[in-house]
C-alpha cells in the first residue's frame, strides 16, 4: 500500500500519457529476502563489537570503566579501542555493541556539541540532555527497524548533581547508582551493588577505582570476549578525566594442578 499521496494520480499530460500509466504501479513484496542483496542497508547484526561497560556513583561524582577490545566475532581484533567518549565538559558515554555504530554516535554527538558551543549563550549540554537525546535517537532508530546496535552508559556530573543512566538499541532506559552492560550485567552487577549500594556518598575515588578494577578482573576471567587492558573515566566537579590504558594483573597459577591446562606435560 502506497501511503504517500504524492505518488498517487499525478497530473497527466494528455499529449503522451493520457491515463497516467507511468511510473508503473508495483505491489509490495513481502517474501523471503537476502539481507545482503543490496549491500547492507539496515543494521541486522553487529560485526565489530565491544563488550561490557561498568559504571558507579561515588562520593565526588561518577566513575565508568571499559576495556580496550573490539572483537570481530571470536577474534580479538582491535586491542587499543577507546570505548569511553567524552561529550562536552560534563558527560562521558561508554558503549558496548557494534563499534561502527558507536563511531557514528560519536559523530552525531560531536555535531550537537558544536552547535551548542557556537551558541555561546551560557547554556551547555549536560548528561541529562545527552541522555534524553540518545534515548530519543535510539528508540526512533529501533522503530524504523534499523537500530544502532549498542548498549550505552551515560554518566556525568553537572550543577552539583551526579547522573548515571543506561540506553540501548531497543530504546530501553534505566537509571541506578551501579550499572553494567553486556556480560557485566550478569557477572559484575552483583559485585558492584554489594560494594556500592547505600554507600554512594561515602566511597572515595580510590575505592571506586578498586571496585571497578576488581569487577573488570572477574570479567576478564569469565568473559571470553574481554581483555585485560582497560580505561577508567572519572567525572566530578573537577570535570572529566579519562585515564590512560592500564593493565590488569591476573593469577592463573591455579591452572598448574588441573589436567589439560598449564605447563604440565601430563
Amino acid at each position: 500500500m502506497d501511503h504517500f499521496p504524492t505518488n498517487w494520480g499525478r497530473p497527466r499530460n494528455d499529449a503522451f500519457d493520457a491515463y497516467a500509466t507511468y511510473p508503473i504501479h508495483q505491489r509490495p513484496y513481502n517474501g523471503p529476502k537476502d539481507s545482503f542483496a543490496d549491500g547492507v542497508q539496515r543494521t541486522q547484526q553487529p560485526i565489530v563489537t565491544g563488550t561490557s561497560v561498568l559504571a558507579i556513583k561515588y562520593k565526588d561524582g561518577v566513575m565508568m570503566a571499559a576495556d580496550n577490545l573490539a572483537s570481530y566475532g571470536s577474534l580479538a581484533r582491535f586491542k587499543d579501542v577507546q570505548r569511553l567518549h567524552q561529550v562536552g565538559n560534563y558527560t562521558v558515554i561508554g558503549a558496548g555493541g557494534d563499534m561502527s555504530d558507536f563511531q557514528y554516535i560519536q559523530y552525531i554527538l560531536e555535531e550537537l556539541s558544536i552547535d551548542e558551543i557556537s551558541a555561546q549563550d551560557g547554556h551547555e549540554l549536560g548528561p541529562v540532555e545527552i541522555h534524553e537525546y540518545m534515548s530519543q535517537l535510539m528508540y526512533a532508530r529501533r522503530s524504523k527497524m534499523n537500530p544502532l546496535w549498542n548498549s550505552l552508559l551515560i554518566g556525568g556530573f553537572k550543577d552539583g548533581k551526579r547522573f548515571l543512566s543506561y540506553v540501548d538499541l531497543l530504546g530501553t532506559t534505566y537509571s541506578a547508582s551501579t550499572l553494567a552492560t553486556g556480560y557485566g550485567a550478569f557477572i559484575a552487577q552483583p559485585l558492584l551493588r554489594k560494594a556500592v549500594e547505600g554507600r554512594e556518598d561515602v566511597i572515595t575515588e580510590e575505592e571506586a577505582r578498586k571496585i571497578l578494577e576488581d569487577s573488570l578482573r572477574v570479567l576478564f576471567y569469565r568473559d571470553a570476549r574481554s581483555l585485560n587492558k582497560f580505561q577508567i573515566a572519572a567525572i566530578s566537579s573537577a570535570g572529566v578525566s579519562i585515564s590512560d590504558s592500564m593493565q590488569l594483573d591476573t593469577a592463573w597459577s591455579f591452572a598448574e594442578n588441573i589436567r589439560g591446562y598449564g605447563a604440565q606435560t601430563q
Binding site: 549563550d121 551560557g122 547554556h123 549540554l125 541529562v128 540532555e129 541522555h131 534524553e132 537525546y133 530519543q136
Partner: protein, 275 residues
C-alpha cells in the same frame, strides 16, 4: 515621492538604504494597543492593554502562554501572532522532547527572529505584522525580549510596544534602575503606571482592559501555582488588587487639550464598560 516607488517589493532597497515594506510592517505593530514588559532579579512581567471593537464585543486577548517557562504579549496583527506563537510552542516542545530541558529563552526568540528575517528577504513574501514582548526564565534567571517583524530581537530590562508606547518608555527610563530589587507587587505597580501613560485622555485601566503576565515565584496576592514559578496570566477580577495599588494620577493639564463636556468619539479606542 521617492518612498513610494521603492516600497511595493520587499526585496527592493530604497536609495536611502531602507526596506520600506519592513518599515510598514513595523507601523502595523505601532497600531496595536500597548504592551509593557519589565523585569527584576526574580521576576519578569508583561502588562497589556486589551482593546474591544465596541460595547458589545469582548476584549482582544493579548497574552499567550508558550511553555511553563515562557509567555508572550502581542501587538499588531493577531492572526500573524497566532502563527508565530504556534511555531514557538512547537520549538519549545521539541526542546523538551529532545533534551529534557526547558528551551533557553534567547534561543527561542532567535528562532522566530530568524524565521521573520526570511520574510524580509525572499521575493513575494510579506513580513509578519506583529511584534512580541517575550518573558521567560531559564538557568540564567528571568529574561525579557522584544521581537519585531524586521527580524531583530533584543533583550531588555524594560520595554514597551504598540500605540503610544513612547510615553510608557519614558516612564520606564525614569524608573528602570529600581526594578532589579523590586518585589513582585512593586514591579506590577511600576508596570501599571507605565501602561497608564499610554492611555488616551479620560480612559483608565480597569479589570476588563488590563491583563498581567508573570514569570517567577508566587506573589502575595496569588494562590500557589504549579509548577513553581511558571508563566500565568492575571485577568479580570484578579487584577483589581494591583490596580488598587496604583498611585492616583495627578490632574496634570495636558498641553493643548481642552477638557470638554463632549469628548470626541474615537473609533479605535478601548471602550469603557459603563458602571
Amino acid at each position: 515621492m521617492f518612498r513610494n516607488t521603492y516600497d511595493s517589493d520587499n526585496t527592493v532597497f530604497s536609495p536611502q538604504g531602507r526596506l520600506h515594506q519592513v518599515e510598514y510592517a513595523l507601523e502595523a505593530v505601532k497600531q496595536g494597543s500597548a504592551a509593557v514588559g519589565l523585569r527584576s532579579k526574580t521576576h519578569a512581567i508583561l502588562l497589556a492593554l486589551k482593546r474591544s471593537t465596541g460595547e458589545l464585543a469582548s476584549y482582544q486577548q493579548k497574552m499567550f502562554r508558550i511553555d511553563d517557562h515562557v509567555g508572550i504579549a502581542i501587538a499588531g496583527l493577531t492572526s500573524d501572532a497566532r502563527v508565530l506563537s504556534n511555531f514557538m510552542r512547537q520549538q519549545a516542545m521539541g526542546e523538551r522532547m529532545m533534551f529534557n530541558r526547558p528551551m533557553p529563552v534567547n534561543r527561542l526568540v532567535s528562532s522566530i527572529a530568524d524565521k521573520a528575517q526570511v520574510n524580509t528577504q525572499e521575493y513575494g513574501r510579506r513580513p509578519y505584522g506583529v511584534g512580541f514582548l517575550v518573558i521567560g526564565q531559564d538557568q540564567s534567571g528571568p529574561h525579557l525580549f522584544e521581537f519585531s517583524p524586521s527580524g531583530n530581537s533584543y533583550e531588555y530590562y524594560a520595554m514597551s510596544i504598540g500605540a503610544r508606547s513612547q510615553s510608557a518608555k519614558t516612564y520606564l527610563e525614569k524608573h528602570y534602575e529600581s526594578f532589579a530589587d523590586c518585589n513582585l507587587e512593586d514591579l506590577i505597580r511600576h508596570g501599571l503606571h507605565a501602561l497608564r501613560e499610554t492611555l488616551q485622555q479620560d480612559k483608565e485601566l480597569n479589570v476588563n482592559n488590563t491583563s498581567v503576565g508573570i514569570i517567577g515565584p508566587v506573589g502575595q496576592h496569588e494562590k500557589p501555582i504549579s509548577p513553581l514559578g511558571s508563566f500565568r496570566i492575571l485577568e479580570g477580577d484578579n487584577v483589581e488588587v494591583y490596580l488598587q495599588s496604583m498611585e492616583k494620577k495627578e490632574e496634570a493639564p495636558a498641553p493643548a487639550s481642552v477638557p470638554d463636556a463632549a469628548p470626541a468619539p474615537t473609533a479605535d479606542e478601548d471602550v469603557q464598560m459603563s458602571g
